[in-house]
Symmetry: D2
Subunit: 91 residues, 4 copies
């Protein structure tokens, strides 16, 4: 079981909310709503996604990465972690 | 009718794809998939959202903003545009 | 004369401050300061640069872009503007 | 001695280059250069800064954070690391 499972219900609720916000934007487009009102929604979605991503990154670091380092084989996990952080910052 | 309506079908398809990706992350969490495989999905979603946001921003600029400037009342529209760009960059 | 010239002194002061912050990081490295204290400086520099960039983008939009649209030839200027915004968001 | 010291010369060279780029923007403003040519420089500076930041973050993780975890006291270091990553992503 992975480290994030203890927060799985919270993560799923937040992802369902993001899913609802993405559907909300579709509805706004179908209703021909004002462009700026639609654009405003994106900041809220991006901010919510970034927080979920950071929560997963944190539980991954505190779980899998720490376990691997304590088990003497952390190098590969840190390569992987840095790769994820690099990709996320480019995002 | 707003400027983005000529691309509405394309925008809706891309948003449905993002919605599916957000649901895909929920499924990965329910299946206890490896954290890094889940994290990798976020870059793809953020990149897709940023492209949709830019498409809306562009049609808004070419439509509403240009119309307002040509009609002699562009100041307010540019205030609003800069506000949206500022919020988006803080993302 | 370009639109940003009316704020040139303010922009130059802010850029000199950023330049000083970048030199400050070099000094911290030479003094073998704690990594996290160095990393903290980057957020401040990135935030200062983003604000200067937005100020230039705003004066460009209110100046060159509006002038081109009112002169009937805004399409090329908007292509260019969207290109700059796209590059900045990827940044 | 901190982990980044083995790359200190490379980091300093890259920071000197960024410093030169920031001075270059000041010169462009003083020469009243075209706004878009100035704006284009920001992406390059932001990208260079992000790479230096990631290099420091990586050597910090491989050095101080791994040492602390192996010494049994990693919790505080990971709190600090997550704080730095969170601040960096906010840009």
């Amino acid at each position: 079981m992975h480290g994030y499972q203890k927060d799985a219900e919270d993560l799923l609720n937040r992802l369902r909310k993001v899913e609802g916000q993405v559907r909300g934007i579709q509805k706004m487009i179908q209703e021909d709503r004002y462009c700026v009102d639609i654009l405003t929604q994106f900041s809220s979605i991006k901010s919510a996604l970034a927080k979920i991503e950071l929560a997963l990154l944190e539980s991954h670091t505190r779980g899998c990465v720490v376990d691997a380092i304590q088990g003497g084989g952390g190098d590969e996990k840190i390569d992987e972690l840095m790769h994820v952080i690099r990709a996320s910052m480019k995002g």
